[in-house]
């Protein structure tokens, strides 16, 4: 995406959205299924067809002899012809088998499952906080466009957005590293009961979450502000004022609900951005989630793990997007028109 407040025109419901409800849902779900399939195929070919196959990737900087490389290749079934490999892949996928990590030697699906909940926790909490903060502030900034509050908010958000997420994380680490843990998700010597463990996790969560919030919140602020500005000249606001509504009620009961619609769509479209942010934050803080796993796969050129991660991450974003499309269908009465 380009500027964080990319024109809300991106969020117009497509013409097909205005047709019947069931047809719309089916269309969107069908589209998502097709996209998922494309991702499955893409993940496979990306790791193999492009210059470099997984084994070559893995052994690039090592000093393994040709025989050992060949043995490795055979071990992972990568010396079979390409179509055969593809069939293996698809069959494995149907059983939830994503292959074995070249580096860790464990099933990829296991690694991913283990790393799943830390990422969900981090992204979930950060997104929630960012949305609440960003939408609240963006609304007030846009309503009083040009005011000191607005100028400050916009400038602050732009600056936060311009600084690379990982750098913000590193600075925060350097500054607050003595008060909060800087690595991982749990201290090894925390008592195994639920409450101390939960508190320890939260304690570890603070810095990475704060970092992710910084950049997400800036994004949502700018998007909400931009959406609200688009509504500012609407006639129905004059009608609301003519009825005798107080200014803040005009804003909250009329302008904001209308401005929220493109905002919600944009938030969902930009989930890929959130995933990218999570990857860098987890790398900085060694937060044991999918992002850190990706980083490790990247540094070790672990082909199968990369393939699996691409599949899972891209697939997750696609599914969330589908949810976003369906959500819009539910909350926008114009899209719902049957």
């Amino acid at each position: 995406m380009t500027s964080p407040a990319a024109t809300p025109a991106l969020a117009e419901p497509s013409p097909s959205a205005r047709s019947g409800g069931a047809r719309y849902v089916l269309g969107k779900v069908g589209g998502a299924v097709v996209s998922l399939f494309v991702i499955v195929v893409l993940s496979f070919f990306l790791i193999r067809v492009l210059p470099g196959d997984p084994i070559r990737l893995l052994t690039r900087n090592t000093s393994l002899g040709a025989a050992q490389v060949a043995e490795l290749r055979h071990q992972f079934g990568l010396d079979k012809p390409l179509p055969a490999q593809f069939v293996d892949y698809m069959v494995g996928l149907a059983h939830g088998d994503l292959g074995v990590s070249l580096r860790f030697g464990q099933p990829v699906s296991q690694l991913i499952l283990r790393a799943l909940w830390p990422t969900v926790l981090l992204v979930g909490v950060a997104t929630l906080i960012s949305i609440l903060l960003g939408l609240w502030q963006g609304t007030r900034a846009g309503w009083r466009r040009g005011s000191g509050f607005d100028r400050f908010s916009t400038g602050f958000a732009l600056t936060l957005w311009s600084a690379p997420t990982f750098w913000l994380g590193m600075i925060l680490l350097a500054l607050a590293g003595s008060w909060f843990p800087t690595q991982g998700i749990l201290d090894p010597d925390t008592p195994p009961e639920f409450l101390p463990q939960a508190l320890d996790v939260l304690h570890h969560l603070v810095l990475p979450c704060l970092t992710l919030v910084a950049v997400l919140y800036a994004q949502y602020l700018l998007v909400m502000r931009s959406s609200l500005l688009e509504e500012m000249n609407a006639d129905y606001l004059t009608t609301a004022r003519a009825k005798g509504l107080r200014d803040d009620l005009v804003r909250d009961r009329h302008a904001v609900p209308n401005a929220l619609l493109p905002t919600v769509t944009l938030v969902f479209i930009q989930l890929g951005f959130v995933v990218g942010g999570a990857v860098t934050v987890e790398t900085v803080y060694s937060w044991p989630g999918l992002g850190l796993l990706l980083y490790q796969a990247l540094s070790d050129h672990d082909g199968t793990l990369l393939q699996g991660l691409l599949l899972v991450l891209a697939g997750a974003v696609l599914v969330m997007n589908l949810i976003g499309d369906l959500l819009l269908h539910v909350i926008d009465p114009r899209v719902r028109a049957a």
């Binding site: 995406m1 380009t2 500027s3 990319a6 024109t7 025109a9 991106l10 589209g31 097709v34 996209s35 494309v38 991702i39 990306l46 790791i47 492009l50 210059p51 470099g52 990737l57 466009r145 732009l158 600056t159 957005w161 311009s162 600084a163 690379p164 997420t165 990982f166 750098w167 913000l168 590193m170 600075i171 680490l173 350097a174 590293g177 800087t182 931009s226 500005l229 479209i269 989930l271 890929g272 951005f273 995933v275 990218g276 990857v279 860098t280 790398t283 900085v284 990706l294 980083y295 990247l298 540094s299 050129h301 990369l306 991660l309 691409l310 991450l313 891209a314 974003v317 696609l318 997007n321």
Partner: protein, 294 residues
């Protein structure tokens, strides 16, 4: 004969754009900042000694704070941080610009094809565009640049391959708008071919907004490049701002609170990105009056 009139008009329009742009203080500041940074980057070979980047030629102590002739201290190999910063700017700017040109190029082509030819070409390309728009671009770019031998070239390709969808959508909507105008119909009636209409009418009309969009795209590309470098996907022999921070993290500069090493690259990235953003927003506001009051 007619083309010179068209060019005269375009020059006049460009003059008006500049005059309007000048009134935006943010845009002017951004432009000034960029001019300075680009100048420094270009002049780097003239004002500094490249050999200092070579680890074997490093003369300073390890992770030294500013002093002893090192204005910004030294990195984990004893190299001058200031030197790294200066030469890093070349990489960051180069990759940012090259990647943007690639993505804008691809995006423009796809966008024009979609809008101009319509029909199933549009249907297919639209699905592809939406698909790429939604994908987590960083993940895809990271995987791409790993699979292609890691280095600057693969980063450029990776960014170009993932950042084109927004340009494509913009170009598509603009092309649709332009092609619905009467003079295009007249062009068709006079027997113009596809390439004539696209080359002489659509592209010049679409160019200004694409240019504004490009400026914003560069901001994005620079951030993506720095992130990819930070993840270790850059070229170890050509340090960029992102790879400086990668090294800083890997070698414990963070825990050592080596702020002279941690601050400058990030600040540099932020400043350049912010400058491009201010310019881009100012340009967009000039070209699209609806956005003027942002």
């Amino acid at each position: 004969m007619t083309s010179s009139i068209a060019w005269q008009r375009r020059r006049a329009a460009a003059g008006r754009v500049w005059a309007q742009f000048r009134t935006d203080r943010g845009g002017l500041i951004g432009l000034a900042v960029l001019a300075v940074i680009v100048l420094l980057a270009v002049l780097a070979p003239l004002i500094s000694d490249r050999s200092g980047l070579d680890v074997t030629h490093a003369t300073g102590g390890i992770l030294q704070p500013p002093g002893n002739g090192f204005l910004l201290g030294t990195d984990e190999s004893g190299r001058s941080v200031l030197l790294l910063l200066l030469w890093g700017s070349r990489i960051s700017l180069l990759v940012g610009l090259a990647a943007t040109l690639l993505s804008v190029g691809v995006g423009t082509i796809v966008g024009v094809l979609m809008a101009h030819f319509g029909g199933w070409a549009q249907a297919v390309l639209m699905r592809v565009t939406d698909f790429f728009l939604v994908l987590p671009s960083l993940v895809l770019a990271a995987v791409l640049s790993t699979v292609l031998t890691p280095g600057i070239g693969s980063i450029i390709v990776a960014i170009g391959a993932t950042a084109w969808p927004t340009t494509a959508r913009l170009v598509r909507s603009q092309t649709l708008a332009v092609e619905s105008r009467p003079y295009i119909e007249r062009s068709w009636a006079l027997g113009a071919g596809h390439w004539h209409v696209i080359g002489k009418h659509v592209l010049p009309a679409v160019a200004p907004l694409v240019f504004a969009n490009t400026t914003l795209n560069v901001a994005n590309s620079i951030i993506t490049e720095s992130t990819l470098s930070f993840l270790g996907l850059g070229d170890p022999n050509s340090p960029s701002w992102g790879s400086m921070l990668h090294n800083a993290l890997q070698t414990g500069a963070v825990t050592a609170r080596a702020w002279w090493y941690l601050l400058p690259p990030g600040v540099a990235i932020g400043v350049v990105v912010l400058a491009f953003m201010m310019c881009g927003r100012a340009l967009e506001a000039v070209l699209n009056p609806r956005l003027r009051e942002r």
